[in-house]
């Protein structure tokens, strides 16, 4: 933030004046506040969660009975492709990003992220990228090649039209958003920690954000390259995956899964971070084995790079490769197991409070363990030869991504909701939604295990009557609608609780980490005074200093209040002013990506917007009023 003010500073002429007011639409379009950006990430990705859920329900309706014809085969292909792509790239990743944005600066005692405008850029590029991908529905058909887009099925010869190109362009634009956010959070966590907050005192959620960000920054470029190659094949007639010219479609699988497997950990590590915050808070105990959990996360993030070919056991890589990838894949079960045992040990002997957030976290442990164990069964390449491309695999990844990531995300929503808004969600409705989701989830994905082992293949739009799969599929469809009901109950909960506005206060859970030491919702500058940190769970030990002396009996809570921000002279706190350039660059990038498919004129317009935005960005002062001399 070295804004050395220069009298001669060049500035681009402004088309619109720089927004100043902290209210209204302009404020939301130009905000650089990490909390507002987190809120927008959350709202937009929750919208896509509903869309992806509707796509899932349509799939389940089609499969609910044998030989039904609710969806045509072509629409069915589009539906499962967009369901997978939406849930991975438009739901779990950005919902995690919503938590990164909201929570990480608060947990490390910072006023904002390291690069607030870059953060806004990530948000807008994500929003426009998500729209770009979904425009395809109205532009001749959505992508239909599965979320992994294997050529030659995704090559032009078998897949004319723009669906697949929309998919690639959308992914590449979203990749820009993810990489920008990943860079930002790495620098924020490494460089913006409050005094005394060493790396090994960081809350586990912040640690997992750091590891996830490193994975994003290293894995997404690989997807970008794969996308560029496939686009070049489709639009410019290159030969990367064209076997007639000697190209190798299997090479796509290698690149895609070299990205795709770290991506799996990008989806689950933030969830593990959320659970590692919730369990200690509601067990009123420190997290068991903090160091082990952090290092297990690091080991998972590292070993995730050496397992990609387990997605390709049946393509014929040979026994040596299959054996090697079997071993590396099974080894990942070790750090994962370390985490699960640490979470269970955190519960052990604690004074457990079974509220909605805690129930979702405990549900996470159970469901993720089931999903992890079925994962080990197809880590073994001989057994995977039976399971590849069956519903058993569908069951597995829904147990880790829905029973894992989504359960943890709901746990995080209920846990941090009072921090986001200042009021509490209703517990009765919350527990109802948990029970519905738990039952619906297991009813939907449990039977997929046996119907898959019985041979039902993935991605078929229907099946014959006499296969013996009907009752399982009907159960799964009913389960899907119970999940939908649970999400509905959650939405009703939000609406009713908003009416009641039960005041939460700064620290409703008597929690442990720094975000609870300030008001809810936090003032825009977060901390009146940057905290000084002496311990892991510093806020907890400020409240209960006797625990540090080994005294476990008759603990008295110290009278320590959350920071009072009512009498703060805000003119002394300097935060960056609003900027609409991130929005401009986001729109420009998306227009350019659209132009790749239609006309170079659009590419030129988009790039001019990006260029204009970049120059404007780098020449506008961070603060308009920073002319005073330091």
């Amino acid at each position: 933030m070295s804004s050395i003010s220069k009298p001669k500073q060049f500035q681009l002429p402004r088309i619109f004046p720089r927004p100043k007011s902290h209210k209204g639409l302009w404020y939301w379009l130009a905000t650089v506040d990490h909390k507002k950006i987190g809120t927008m990430y959350g709202l937009v990705s929750f919208f896509w969660f509903l869309i992806g859920g509707i796509e899932a329900l349509l799939i389940r309706l089609q499969l609910g009975q044998a030989e039904s014809s609710i969806l045509s085969p072509e629409v069915y292909n589009q539906m499962f492709t967009m369901h997978g792509t939406t849930m991975v790239f438009l739901v779990v990743m950005p919902l995690s990003a919503a938590f990164f944005n909201w929570i990480v600066p608060l947990q490390i005692g910072a006023r904002d992220v390291a690069f607030p405008r870059l953060n806004a850029l990530s948000l807008w590029v994500f929003i426009f990228g998500s729209i770009l991908m979904n425009i395809s529905w109205f532009a001749g058909g959505a992508p239909n090649g599965g979320w992994f887009g294997y050529p030659p099925n995704s090559s032009l010869g078998f897949n004319p039209g723009n669906g697949i190109t929309y998919w690639i362009m959308g992914l590449n634009v979203l990749g820009v958003a993810s990489i920008a956010a990943g860079l930002n959070f790495i620098v924020t966590i490494i460089n913006m920690r409050a005094p005394g907050l060493h790396m090994m005192r960081l809350p586990v959620f912040t640690w997992m954000t750091l590891i996830t960000s490193v994975l994003i920054v290293l894995a997404l470029p690989i997807l970008a390259v794969a996308g560029i190659q496939l686009t070049a094949d489709r639009i410019y007639g290159t030969n990367f995956f064209n076997s007639e010219a000697g190209g190798d479609p299997i090479f796509w699988q290698h690149i895609f899964w070299l990205f795709g497997h770290p991506e799996v950990y990008i989806l689950i590590l933030p969830a593990m971070g959320i659970v590692s915050e919730v369990l200690p808070t509601f067990s009123r105990k420190p997290l068991f084995g903090y160091t082990a959990i952090v290092f297990a996360g690091l080991v998972i993030g590292f070993m995730g790079w050496f397992v990609w070919s387990h997605h390709m056991f049946t393509v014929g890589l040979g026994p040596a490769a299959n054996t090697a990838f079997t071993v590396t894949t099974m080894l990942i079960a070790i750090p994962t197991g370390v985490k699960i045992f640490n979470w269970i040990s955190t519960l052990w002997g604690g004074s457990i409070k079974l509220n909605t957030s805690m129930l979702f976290s405990i549900g996470f442990i159970a469901m993720f363990t089931i999903g992890g164990l079925s994962g080990v069964t197809h880590a073994a390449s001989p057994s995977d030869a039976q399971q590849q491309d069956t519903y058993y695999v569908v069951a597995h990844f829904h147990y880790v991504l829905f029973g894992g990531s989504i359960f943890a995300i709901f746990s995080g929503i209920y846990y941090w909701w009072p921090k986001f808004t200042g009021w509490l969600l209703d517990e009765k409705l919350g527990i109802t939604s948990f029970i519905l989701m738990f039952i619906g989830f297991n009813l939907q994905f449990g039977p997929m295990h046996w119907v898959g082992l019985n041979g039902m293949p993935r991605r078929i739009y229907t099946y014959a009557e006499d296969m013996g799969w009907e009752s399982s599929n009907l159960a799964a469809t009913i389960g899907g609608f119970i999940i939908a009901l649970s999400v509905l109950v959650f939405l009703v909960n939000v609406i009713l609780s908003k009416r009641k506005k039960q005041n939460a206060g700064g620290d409703p859970w008597d929690a442990r980490t720094l975000e609870w030491s300030i008001a809810s919702p936090p003032p825009h500058y977060n901390f009146v005074e940057i905290p000084k940190v002496n311990n892991i769970d510093d806020w907890w030990y400020k409240k209960y200093p006797e625990l540090l002396e080994g005294n476990n009996q008759n603990i008295k809570k110290q009278k320590i209040e959350v920071e009072d921000s009512s009498n703060v002279d805000e003119s002394k706190i300097h935060l960056p002013d609003l900027s609409y350039y991130p929005l401009l660059i986001g729109i420009g990038l998306t227009i350019a990506a659209l132009g790749v498919m239609y006309t170079y004129a659009l590419v030129a317009i988009g790039l001019v917007m990006v260029f204009w935005g970049s120059i404007g960005w780098s020449t506008e002062p961070v603060n308009e009023d920073s002319n005073e001399h330091h």
Partner: protein, 215 residues
């Protein structure tokens, strides 16, 4: 509570490592870019000697010419070191001169690349013709795009030097651009070694059709 941490404007931002956040950002970004180029280079190596029709590397690559353009690009790295050195010492005349030289050398490198691409296209080597063309053109043109972006960035900084906005106090802005510039040079060293030097004598692979040249 703490007494030494107070809110003073401009000073309240934490800096845990002592490294400027902007510089750290550039380092992490370069790590990300390594994966980007790494995947393209891996693609090139995986498809080396897999083209079924010509022209093949031995028919096209011209090592002497590319050696000259490589030399120009590597010298520009020396130039940006000097430009930064004189900027830090506030000797603005030399700082501007060397920055200008870097920009000229960068444009020179791009000029060589444009000539090379046009020459190859004339010979009938295009991204569409075979795997060598596809992998060669994507990798080198994306490297060229990186160099071009760097040139735009350096021009922007040079203008700021002339306007007096970039001086010894905020020399870090040039240092960060220098990190990027050096990285792009290092990537070129890898590309020159793998795509040109060791590939130069690759002829017709087993199963390939010999190239008879021309159109």
């Amino acid at each position: 509570m703490s007494t030494d941490v107070t809110i003073q404007h401009g000073e309240e931002i934490n800096n845990s490592t002592g490294v400027s956040a902007k510089k750290l950002l550039m380092w992490v970004f370069l790590g990300s870019d390594v994966m980007f180029f790494g995947t393209f280079i891996a693609t090139f190596m995986a498809y080396r000697n897999k083209s079924l029709v010509g022209p093949y590397p031995e028919d096209t690559l011209n090592i002497p010419i590319t050696s000259v353009s490589t030399f120009v690009l590597l010298m520009s790295s020396l130039g940006i070191v000097l430009a930064l050195h004189y900027l830090k010492e506030a000797r603005m005349g030399l700082a501007k001169f060397w920055l200008l030289m870097v920009i000229i050398m960068g444009i020179g490198f791009i000029g060589f690349q444009v000539y090379e691409f046009a020459h190859f296209a004339n010979m009938g080597m295009t991204p569409q013709v075979n795997l060598f063309g596809s992998t060669f053109f994507t990798l080198t043109s994306l490297h060229g795009a990186h160099v071009s972006l760097g040139i735009l960035w350096l021009i922007f900084l040079l203008i700021n030097e002339y306007r007096g906005n970039l001086n010894s106090e905020n020399a870090i802005d040039l240092e960060i651009a220098g990190l990027y510039w050096h990285f792009v040079d290092i990537v070129w060293i890898v590309i020159f070694a793998l795509l040109y030097l060791i590939t130069a004598n690759d002829g017709v692979p087993p199963g390939g059709i010999p190239w008879i040249g021309g159109h």
